[in-house]
Symmetry: D2
Subunit: 96 residues, 4 copies
C-alpha cells in the first residue's frame, strides 16, 4: 500500500483516491452544464475525466497483468487469462 510506484501501477488507496476525484470532476461537469458554461470548456473537463479514467483502468490492468504473469504458468490458465485481458483492453481502446 505504501510501496513506491512505477509506471501505471497503483495501490488500492491510490485507485480509490483517483476515483473519488473523478466523481467530484463529474459533479463539476454537471454544474457547468447547469450553469450553461461554454461548451468547449465543458468538453475540456470531459477529456480530463476520460484521461483520469484511462489512468485508473491502466492501474487496474497493471496489477492484474503482474498477478497473471506471476501466477499464469503455475495455474495453467495462461491462455484463458490472456484472452479475457485482451477483450478488456479492446473495450478500453474502443471505450465500451
Amino acid at each position: 500500500m505504501t510501496a513506491p510506484q512505477r509506471g501505471y501501477s497503483a495501490t488500492k488507496d491510490q485507485l480509490t483516491a483517483r476515483l473519488r476525484r473523478i466523481e467530484g470532476q463529474v459533479r463539476g461537469i454537471e454544474k457547468m452544464v447547469d450553469d450553461d458554461r461554454y461548451c468547449i470548456d465543458v468538453l475540456t473537463q470531459i477529456s480530463a475525466v476520460q484521461a483520469a479514467l484511462d489512468k485508473v483502468g491502466l492501474g487496474l490492468l497493471d496489477g492484474h497483468a503482474r498477478h497473471c504473469m506471476h501466477e499464469g504458468a503455475r495455474t495453467g490458465r495462461a491462455d484463458e487469462v490472456a484472452e479475457e485481458m485482451m477483450a478488456a483492453i479492446g473495450r478500453l481502446m474502443k471505450r465500451g
Copy 2:
C-alpha cells in the same frame, strides 16, 4: 427541451440526467474497487463510463456545431470557432 432528438443531439435535461448517471457509475466503480471485485469486471464498468462520457461530449459538441453553423457566417468568426472546435475534438480523441 422537449423536442424529439436525432443523432447525438441532446437537451440540457438529457445531458444532466446522463451526467448524474455517470456520477453514480463512478461511485459504483469506487465500491467495486473497495470490495476487491474482479479486475476485469471493474475495467468493463470503466469502459461503460467512457462510452457514456463520449456520448455526453458528442451531445455537447452537436449543440455547439449546430449553433456555430447557424451563426458562423453571420458573425464572421467561422475560422476562429472551427479552430477551437477542432482542438476540443482532438482532445476528445486523445482523451485529454
Copy 3:
C-alpha cells in the same frame, strides 16, 4: 495551397504527403512483423500511425467544418450537416 497553417488545418498537398508517409509506415510495420521484431516495438509504430491518421482526420474535419460554417446558414442545411459531422466524429472517437 501555400497559405500558412494554424491548428489542425491542412492543405490537400499536406494531407497527401502525410498519407504517403503513413503508407510507408504501414509497409515498415509489415516488414517488422515479417522480421519477427519485438512486439512492443511494433506496437509503438502502430500507435504512431494511429496518431498520424488522427491528424489527417482532424485536418479533413477542420476544412469541412470551416466550409460548413461559412456555408451552413446560407444553404439552410446546417442541422443536416452538423448531424453528419457528429456521426463522423463519433466514428473517429470509437475508431470505426
Copy 4:
C-alpha cells in the same frame, strides 16, 4: 500458423495479410483525397483503417501476453515485462 484462432489472437500470416490490406486502404484514402472525394466519406475510411490497426495491435499484444504469461514467472522478469506492456497499451489507448 494454421491453428484455429480465438479472440484477438492471430498468426503471423494473418497479421501480414491484415497489414497488406491496411496498406491498400491507406492508398485508397490517398486517392480519395486526390479525387476531392467528400470529406465525410474519407473520414469513414480513416476510421476503418484505425479499427483494422487496433485489431492488428490487439493481435500482437495477445501473442505477447500469452508468451509472457507462460514465461513470466519462469524468467523472474514478470514486473519488468508487465510495465513495458502497460506502457504500450497506454500508447495504444492514447494513440501515440
